[in-house]
């Protein structure tokens, strides 16, 4: 018994020494470690899978082109399962154990909000590809994002309605119980008025309702050129149907809440002559977009969605910043990130003082039940 224990202790001691030697080697390795986080499993699994693939593609391209600062880039991708607690755990692991230089992640705002304070505390620059909640970057000066925040879509929608659709009178309808749709409608109203247009009706509806006719009758009586519907696709389908039934034939405009195949299933032909703002369209004719779509398809055998594009962009922005910083010093990377001016798949990106990107949005039209790329609008 006693002998066994001695052998066990001896083995453990040897393992410990080997472990120390190897971990020592790791520190001197000639690679730059970047952390990635996304919900690869759980309720938003397709979002996580897309972002992971976007990040992998970007890293692969950089490595093929000679790496970063003369070193190879290594991506360690972690699964947050769409759960804030899990996000905090993997964030701490990436920073304290894997010693990552920067983190690209994560998808959901609630998870990014769990990871951001940890990044800020350890001074590890972070960029979220798709978290749209304004609070995420307000955590601190090490936190950036690659997507535009929600209210921005209202601004772009107003510009599109005024300049491209030549609308002068607009009406809004939104869900009073949802900050996303309310915020979009308010920013649409402000920008449209600022451009010289008139908002003839600004109508709310309660969450979960199916009858919008009272509001729509009022809206149509005010004779708008365009109706801005900032709801999610399932409400949009019903609103569009009822608006058409009440005799409105003009264009309908909305935000990325429209982006679902179910929009046409519920709305049918009523959503024709509808337009919405989105982050990315695979049909955008810009060469950088087409090249990305081609490379993504070759590697993963499918068409990239907006999440893959934004993750690809987020990784590009981060690696570009490290390159310009010329070192892995967090202070310098942070400064370089703030000075970003790079042309990526989702547009030309610079950051405002709250570390939110200033960039263009694409407008997608519904034509014959299909989503068709319509235009790129700059803010």
């Amino acid at each position: 018994m006693k002998r066994n224990l001695r052998i066990l202790l001896f083995t453990l001691a040897i393992l410990l020494v080997i472990g120390l030697i190897f971990s020592g080697c790791k520190k001197e390795a000639t690679e730059i470690v970047i952390g990635g986080v996304g919900p690869v499993s759980g309720e938003a699994a397709t979002f996580g899978q897309s972002t992971k693939e976007g990040c992998e593609l970007a890293v692969e391209e950089w490595n093929a082109a000679g790496g970063l600062l003369g070193k190879n880039i290594k991506l360690i991708y972690q699964d947050d399962k769409g759960d804030p607690t899990e996000a905090a755990t993997v964030w701490t692991k990436l920073i304290t154990q894997d010693k990552v230089v920067a983190i690209v992640g994560t998808v959901m705002s609630k998870c990014s909000l769990a990871g951001a304070p940890i990044s800020q505390q350890y001074k590890v620059p972070m960029i979220s590809p798709t978290s749209t909640n304004p609070k995420v970057t307000e955590v601190g000066d090490y936190i950036f994002r690659a997507c535009f925040i929600d209210p921005f879509q209202g601004t772009v929608g107003a510009k599109f309605a005024y300049e491209n659709l030549k609308a002068r009178k607009a009406a809004c309808i939104f869900d009073v119980g949802n900050d996303y749709t309310k915020g979009l409608a308010e920013f649409f109203r402000d920008k449209f008025t600022e451009l010289g247009g008139t908002i003839v009706a600004f109508e709310a509806h309660p969450t979960g309702t199916t009858d919008f006719k009272a509001q729509l009758t009022k809206i149509i009586a005010a004779k708008p050129d365009v109706i801005y519907i900032s709801d999610y696709y399932n409400d949009v389908g019903l609103i569009a149907k009822q608006a058409r039934e009440l005799g409105f034939n003009g264009p309908l405009v909305g935000g990325d809440g429209w982006d679902s195949p179910d929009l046409v299933k519920i709305g049918g032909t009523a959503v024709e002559n509808g337009y919405f703002t989105n982050h990315f369209s695979k049909d955008d004719p810009r060469p950088i977009v087409q090249e990305f779509v081609k490379k993504y398809q070759a590697k993963f055998g499918k068409v990239p969605d907006a999440l893959a594009a934004l993750a690809y962009d987020a990784m590009q922005i981060m690696l570009d910043a490290i390159k310009r910083a010329g070192s892995t010093d967090p202070e310098k990377i942070k400064k370089a990130l703030a000075e970003t001016n790079i042309n990526v798949v989702s547009g030309l990106i610079t950051f405002d003082k709250n570390r939110n990107p200033i960039k263009s949005a694409v407008i997608i039209a519904i034509k014959n039940g299909q989503q068709v790329y319509q235009a790129t609008v700059n803010p």
């Binding site: 199916t210 009858d211 006719k213 009272a214 009758t217 009586a221 005799g247 519920i266 049918g268």
Partner: protein, 309 residues
């Protein structure tokens, strides 16, 4: 608001009221006879909508290939109508058999809580069922939508259909309760269960019939709601169910024409209040309800009944 807008809003209110009325009729009948506020009634309505949806995809192409032109559409609609009634009625019967019947002679609060339990069970069970699932579904267009101009107002055939069906069902129920043998038995059960039993009435079969009819009405309401507002999901019954219940109370719970009257008042009040101010519209509609009930606690058409001692 000019006159044409007002006319249009009245039609909007009538449409909303018709959907409430279809649900409220079953609600009020079950309450009038069993004295049970059946909170699961809104979910029978949801079942009716899903049954119609499923039937359409199961037999839609078969019917379309066996018959031609408008006959196919009419036959399909009739089959789906019957299907929605049968499914709503069956679920109501099952709920009565397994959840309400064992509690018949227990305190009324127990069956009320059970009704809430049945409601939630149906919602969550269907969400968990893979063939139904929790997400929204677009309802197929069984009947082609056409619109008519009533002066300056635009009215679709769905509004007329909803109004017509609500009226037919109301008349059917009134005749059934007033002039038929089963109606007489229902009234007897509602007045005094024990005396009815002594008179040789099989109370349980009367109550089961009541649930069957009430549930099948809810099923029809589900079908019509699916047509009018073509988006269905497992929780679609909660809000209309609640409003229909309020409408039934407004009209005088247990009173059949009262339920219809209450529903139309609710529908029109909600529409106009929303048109005046969409932020507090529903609040105004419910404030009207409170005021009415303050002055007539028994509801608009309800009768004052002295408490039985």
């Amino acid at each position: 608001m000019d006159i044409s807008t007002i006319l249009q809003q009245i039609f909007n209110g009538l449409q909303l009221g018709s959907i409430y009325a279809l649900i409220a009729l079953g609600y009020t009948m079950v309450y009038g006879i069993v004295r049970l506020i059946n909170f699961a009634h809104g979910d029978f309505y949801m079942i009716g909508a899903y049954a119609s949806y499923g039937l359409f995809f199961a037999i839609g192409t078969l019917v379309a290939s066996s018959f031609s032109g408008p006959t196919a559409a009419i036959i399909l609609f009739i089959i789906i109508l019957l299907g929605s009634m049968i499914s709503g009625g069956t679920i109501a019967l099952l709920a009565n058999q397994f959840a309400y019947k064992p509690l018949r002679n227990k305190p009324r609060l127990s069956s009320l809580i059970t009704a809430i339990g049945v409601s939630m069970f149906l919602e969550y069970f269907l969400s968990a069922l893979p063939v139904v699932g929790p997400s929204y579904r677009g309802f197929p267009e069984l009947i082609k939508k056409t619109t008519y101009n009533f002066g300056p107002a635009i009215v679709s055939n769905f509004v007329l259909l909803d109004l017509g069906v609500a009226a037919i069902l109301m008349i059917f129920l009134t005749v059934l309760v007033r002039y038929t043998k089963i109606g007489k038995a229902m009234r007897a059960v509602s007045q005094d269960k024990d005396a009815a039993k002594l008179m040789g009435i099989n109370i349980e079969s009367v109550i089961a019939t009541t649930f069957l009819i009430g549930g099948s009405f809810a099923g029809v309401a589900g079908l019509l709601a699916g047509l009018t507002y073509p988006r269905i999901y497992p929780y679609m019954g909660i809000l209309p169910g609640l409003k229909a219940f309020i409408a039934a109370v407004l009209g005088g719970i247990g009173n059949i024409p009262g339920a219809v009257l209450g529903s139309y008042i609710m529908g029109i009040a909600e529409t106009f209040a929303t048109a005046v101010n969409s932020l507090i519209g529903e609040g105004i509609a419910f404030a009207i309800l409170i005021v009415v009930l303050l002055f007539r606690p028994q509801g608009l058409l309800g009768e004052k009944v002295a408490d039985k001692i």
